[in-house]
């Protein structure tokens, strides 16, 4: 431990230099004493650490790990404390911007419920004991379960797996773009094509919450800003319940849960029949389009012909356009086909960039991995599992019966910063440094310049002496597992620096400093071209069930629940309902009326999987056949702020597989609703949703906008 301490001091010195350089680079903000009263908890200016400039905030570049997007950040450090995060203006991913989750990374770091020491069976233990136990138990059939992961952590992880035998790496994310990437692979042989909202004249989203949680929201919001500038693009959204993207759409269409594909096919049908477009290269697709008449759409998805026509007309008249989908594999494939039909490929849909050093490439998580982990665990194929960056006990749909699966695994190690449902059931818990205390490299899965790698550097000394970085632990594990070539490095910083120097092809201190300041570096990348759309079969999952369906959506904020321990995000009102600190079920007023329910009524939602009880909120942004319950709330062991609300995933039946994929579909679980009889006011930002005739948000028609060019 002492050795690593010394090393920390060393690299923090280095870091100080880097910071000074950053200061020269002009992105520092000197502090000063305001007229307002001083904060009594400021550290004394006496005898500061040698790398601290008293009273002067210095900005260091790092990377945000709040969601898989891996935005670049600048952290303001003063007196050795990180005070504020901003986006790194140099990165292509987020261009100096951050979302609320990125802002709240501070609270993930300073969280009062951090794990401060290793635990064995819940009892405090020393690192040596913990590591000894791990070396003893984790010998064969070792598995790793992580969230989305990339960069050198992934390299070390793979190396560890390779060394410990035929283990496997499960990357799990409930909120993922698996449908889109699969479709991309299947149709264009490109999992992650680059999208250009800013160039598009019209965008149709089939359940892809680009502005909220999809792939890289900050990237898309940045493009959205330009998309809305004159000439103004038109945004259309088809989804069962209103997402942040839908809330910003010019045309929002409610589709019955799980039928977005049918709607998309209907749009294609109109484009062919009404607007004379064709898709000769894909006969299968063509037939699928032709068979989906608006009338069928009407009774499959409950979308009116008028709405369908409007979408088709807009897409046909405004070019280039863009169709994105994440509702289901079917929808994603149709979206790809539509893009080809509309001639968007090459204009608003260009080949994605990949980096040469493939081992660093990002692994985007999926619930498919989650399901497979459950199967394999049940089958006894996993003896030991290392879990980090994921909370399977919370995010697994009830249908997967994750509790039993985890029980079936003999030895479980959690590498975590905070206690959660998973660490509760793990044999060994290793205290992880927070993202702001750790080193790492991250390859943005989307939006980065070709071959760009984001560097994560510590923004302050660890709050808790006993925590260690993920890289350091991986390195230690790798060494003890006998991975070659690791002995040379006494800590992850050393490893990383060597590796990065190799990638940028320079051992120079100055180059390393430049990388630190930039927070990113570019590895040689190679572009690759699309395949001309391979003629995949298009279909859709017809959902005959006429009853209500449970829709579990994710909202930017608590996300999949990993941010529920942030009081800022708990108190940041949900974008759509403006509710805070609790769960709710969104229902269409008509549906609520049918059940004799009103706002604030507690209802019990029952599926085969179980039942949850929460309050309803009625508005017209839900399909009458849908009951929408956002994820992220209802933790049982996640600190002082996370226990409010319910977790809808606990009643989601995961065995409803999507059409032609094993990806778990969490949007179409039949649900029964019954009033509990209790009513309590849902705590929201405002009690009214109307402007009451005040001119607060004024709305003008696009025609006027066109005439004035938006005042530009």
């Amino acid at each position: 431990m002492s050795k690593t301490k010394i090393n920390r001091r060393n690299f923090l010195k280095v870091l100080g230099l880097g910071g000074a350089g950053a200061a020269l680079a002009g992105c520092d903000m000197p502090s000063y004493v305001t007229l307002e009263e001083g904060e009594e908890k400021i550290y004394s200016y006496l005898a500061p650490e040698e790398y601290v400039i008293p009273g002067v905030g210095v900005w260091y570049a790092s990377t945000c790990l709040q969601c898989p997007a891996a935005c670049g950040t600048h952290g303001r450090v003063r007196e050795g404390r990180v005070l504020k995060l901003e986006g790194n203006p140099n990165t292509a991913v987020n261009a100096g911007k951050l979302c609320q989750m990125g802002q709240a990374a501070l609270q993930a770091h300073f969280n009062p419920d951090r794990i401060t020491e290793p635990l064995i069976n819940g009892q405090p233990a020393s690192w040596d004991d913990a590591l000894a136990l791990i070396n003893e138990k984790a010998t064969k059939n070792v598995a790793w379960m992580t969230g989305a992961i990339s960069g050198h952590q992934r390299v070390l992880l793979d190396a560890h797996l390779a060394a410990t035998g035929k283990g496997r790496h499960y990357a799990v994310e409930t909120i993922n773009a698996r449908a889109w990437t699969d479709a991309g692979k299947a149709v264009l042989s490109d999992a992650m094509p680059t999208l250009h909202l800013d160039k598009a004249e019209a965008v149709l989203s089939l359940g892809a919450d680009m502005l909220g949680t999809w792939i890289s929201p900050v990237t898309f919001m940045g493009q959205y800003g330009q998309f809305r500038a004159a000439p103004r693009g038109v945004l259309m959204a088809v989804e069962p319940a209103m997402s942040l993207t839908g809330a910003n759409a010019d045309q929002w269409v409610a589709a019955k849960p799980g039928t977005e594909a049918a709607v998309a096919l209907g749009v294609g049908h109109l484009l062919m029949t009404k607007h004379g477009l064709s898709l000769n290269s894909m006969p299968n697709a063509t037939s699928a389009f032709q068979s989906m008449t608006p009338a069928r759409v009407q009774d499959i998805a409950g979308v009116s012909e008028a709405a369908l026509n409007k979408i088709a007309d807009t897409l046909a008249s405004r070019k280039p356009s863009l169709v994105v989908a994440n509702a289901s594999h079917a929808a994603a494939r149709v979206a790809m086909a539509l893009n080809i039909m509309l001639g968007n490929v090459g204009k608003t849909l260009t080949p994605g960039a990949s980096i040469v050093a493939d081992p660093l490439a990002p692994i985007m998580g999926s619930t498919k991995d989650l399901a497979e982990f459950a199967q394999n665990a049940d089958a006894g194929k996993i003896d030991a599992v290392f879990i980090t960056g994921a909370n399977p006990a919370f995010i697994a749909p009830q249908g997967l019966n994750m509790a039993a699966a985890l029980k079936a695994v003999g030895f479980k190690v959690a590498l975590a910063t905070c206690h959660d449902e998973t660490t509760k059931v793990c044999d060994v818990v290793l205290p992880l440094s927070s993202a702001l205390e750790d080193w790492g490299t991250h390859v943005p899965a989307y939006g980065g310049k070709p071959g760009v790698v984001h560097l994560q550097q510590p923004l302050m000394e660890p709050l808790h002496a006993e925590t260690r970085g993920l890289g350091d632990i991986l390195l230690t594990l790798g060494k003890s597992a006998g991975v070659d070539g690791l002995e040379a490095f006494e800590d992850y910083y050393g490893y990383l620096r060597t590796a990065v120097s190799a990638m940028i092809g320079s051992e120079q201190e100055g180059d390393w400093q430049r990388v630190l300041q930039a927070g990113q570096f570019e590895a040689p990348a190679q572009d690759h071209a699309f395949s001309t759309g391979s003629d995949v079969a298009l279909g859709f999952s017809e959902n005959a069930d006429a009853g209500l369906h449970l829709v579990t959506v994710a909202r930017q904020g608590l996300y999949d629940g990993r941010h529920a321990n942030s009081s800022w995000l708990q108190e940041a009102p949900d974008q759509i309902t403006k509710a805070v600190w609790d769960s709710w079920a969104e229902m269409h007023p008509k549906t609520a009326a049918d059940f004799g329910l009103k706002d604030g009524d507690y209802v019990s939602l029952t599926t085969q999987g179980g039942a949850i009880t929460t309050r309803i909120f009625t508005y017209k942004g839900v399909h009458p056949k849908a009951v929408c319950v956002p994820m992220g709330r209802g933790h049982t062991d996640y600190g002082r702020w996370a226990s409010n609300g319910v977790n809808p995933l606990t009643i989601v039946d995961a065995h409803l597989g999507d059409w032609q994929s094993s990806e778990v579909l969490a949007t179409a679980t039949p649900v029964k609703i019954s009033a509990v009889g209790e009513n309590r006011h849902l705590v929201r930002l405002m009690d009214t949703d109307q402007q009451h005739g005040r001119k607060l948000v004024a709305t003008i028609s696009a025609q006027q906008f066109g005439r004035t060019q938006g005042g530009a």
């Binding site: 405002m686 009690d687 009214t688 109307q690 402007q691 009451h692 005739g693 005040r694 607060l696």
Partner: protein
């Protein structure tokens, strides 16, 4: 006092002019002696209420203003409305004493003393509320007009500062008015008291000897201060109304507020006078002085003011209704139909309908009915103040302000406690100071007697040379 007829409800004379001056002294001085059980009970109740108020204030001080359940929409609530209520109460004394003094209505003389005392104590009660409603009560003195070491003054533009000035001036003036009017009586007390009371009254009576010089200066002084007090009283409550009228909030930004508030103040003041009148008459056996005819006059006065108040109320509604300010109209409609509507209609009933009962003579002459009537009139006036503050804040220009809020327990405790505090002060007053002005009752008796007998003399000497009763009662000047 040969017959007791004048004590009954059929009494027609304001006062029996044959009452002996000595007995006036005796009766009033008796009222200041050895309290009976009822007094101690009343005192105990008042002290308890006040104790609860202290506890609530300490709790709120430790916990924060959130204890009162105030929120971003309702920054003000019962504290301010009760403040306005007590300021209103304080207007009665001045009205009766000063105005009636100027118009030489001598029936004021037996009852103005306790009315002025009420003015003073209501003000002392009202003064509590602006202080306890401060978020940082320990800094309340920052509103005083002095320059801090950082060159800061209070903001003289703020109606709250106007309040501070007005209330200071009003409290000072009304205390002096009460005190100066009391000096001759204090001399009487001095002449009859023993022990500590003797010392006290000797100091307070400033060596009053009843010289013609003293009486002459006294007359002018009293007149002058009365002249000062009437415009002051009017200005005080119009300034209080400006706390609301000067804001831009719909429902507060109303031009007719100043007269409306003044009318309301006089109204609640008169009602309170009726209440105390009845209590004093009942407990202190003041039947000879606080007579039904006087009560009758007060009731009529109350009715007139009630009608003025009602009229101004309707004017306000009408001006909002026919105006085009939608938010104000929303507030008005919400008052009548929203969650606070029961209290609104309660206010209208007690404030505008109930006064009509005063048109019936049997009501004006029935102490018991009248007592409860006067209580409910004041309940109505308290509701009025609450309806001005809270329903308005429950709406507003921005929908963020829309919120219905009910007062927390600390607020109710403070409201109750304020009555305890007032009661305490008043109970102490009636035992330490004469609550009926002896010398002025004597003047009243004296004048009435003279006028009557002069008329009779004229008649008799006109018709026959026989000397009139005046000659006969030559030696019965007093005893």
């Amino acid at each position: 006092m040969s017959d007791q007829k004048h004590l009954t409800q059929e009494q027609t004379k304001d006062i029996d002019e044959n009452i002996a001056w000595a007995s006036i002294n005796a009766d009033v001085l008796r009222s200041m002696e050895n309290p009976r059980r009822g007094y101690w009970v009343a005192m105990a109740v008042s002290v308890c209420l006040f104790g609860i108020m202290i506890y609530a204030e300490v709790y709120q001080y430790m916990y924060g203003m959130g204890a009162a359940l105030l929120n971003t929409s309702h920054m003000w609530d019962l504290y301010i409305s009760t403040f306005v209520f007590w300021i209103g109460m304080s207007h009665s004394g001045t009205l009766l004493s000063a105005i009636l003094h100027l118009v030489h209505a001598d029936w004021r003389k037996p009852i103005y003393r306790f009315a002025e005392a009420m003015t003073t104590f209501s003000l002392m009660t009202a003064g509590i509320f602006p202080v306890i409603h401060l978020g940082r009560v320990w800094n309340f003195y920052w509103v005083m007009p002095y320059m801090t070491d950082r060159g800061l003054w209070p903001n003289f533009r703020s109606p709250l500062i106007w309040d501070a000035f007005a209330i200071t001036a009003y409290l000072t003036s009304s205390v002096l008015f009460l005190y100066i009017g009391m000096i001759p009586d204090l001399a009487i007390c001095r002449d009859n008291a023993k022990g500590w009371r003797k010392t006290l009254y000797s100091w307070l009576s400033l060596g009053w000897r009843g010289d013609d010089r003293q009486w002459r200066n006294f007359r002018f002084t009293y007149l002058m201060i009365a002249c000062f007090l009437i415009p002051l009283a009017v200005s005080v409550h119009s300034i209080v109304s400006m706390d609301f009228a000067m804001s831009i909030m719909p429902g507060w930004h109303v031009t007719t507020f100043p007269p409306y508030f003044v009318a309301g103040a006089l109204y609640s003041g008169c009602a309170a006078i009726i209440t105390l009148f009845i209590l004093l008459r009942y407990f202190f056996k003041f039947e000879h002085y606080m007579t039904f005819p006087i009560l009758d006059k007060v009731c009529k006065l109350t009715f007139v003011i009630a009608m003025v108040w009602t009229y101004l109320n309707l004017v306000e509604f009408a001006s909002v209704w026919y105006g085009h300010d939608i938010p104000s109209k929303e507030v008005l409609i919400a008052k009548a139909t929203g969650p606070y509507s029961p209290f609104f209609w309660g206010m209208m009933t007690f404030g505008s309908v109930l006064p009509f009962s005063l048109l019936f003579k049997w009501v004006r002459r029935n102490m018991y009915v009248l007592f409860f009537a006067s209580i409910f009139l004041n309940v109505g006036m308290w509701l009025e103040r609450w309806m001005i503050v809270t329903p308005t804040l429950s709406l507003g220009y921005h929908p963020q302000a829309f919120n219905v809020m009910w007062p927390g327990w600390t607020e109710w405790a403070m409201v109750g406690g304020s009555f305890g505090w007032f009661g305490m002060l008043f109970l102490i007053f009636v035992k330490v100071f004469p609550c009926v002005s002896m010398y002025e009752v004597k003047e009243m008796v004296f004048h009435r007697k003279r006028t009557i007998y002069d008329d009779v003399d004229e008649m008799m000497t006109l018709h026959s040379g026989v000397p009139g009763p005046k000659a006969q009662t030559q030696n019965s000047g007093g005893a």
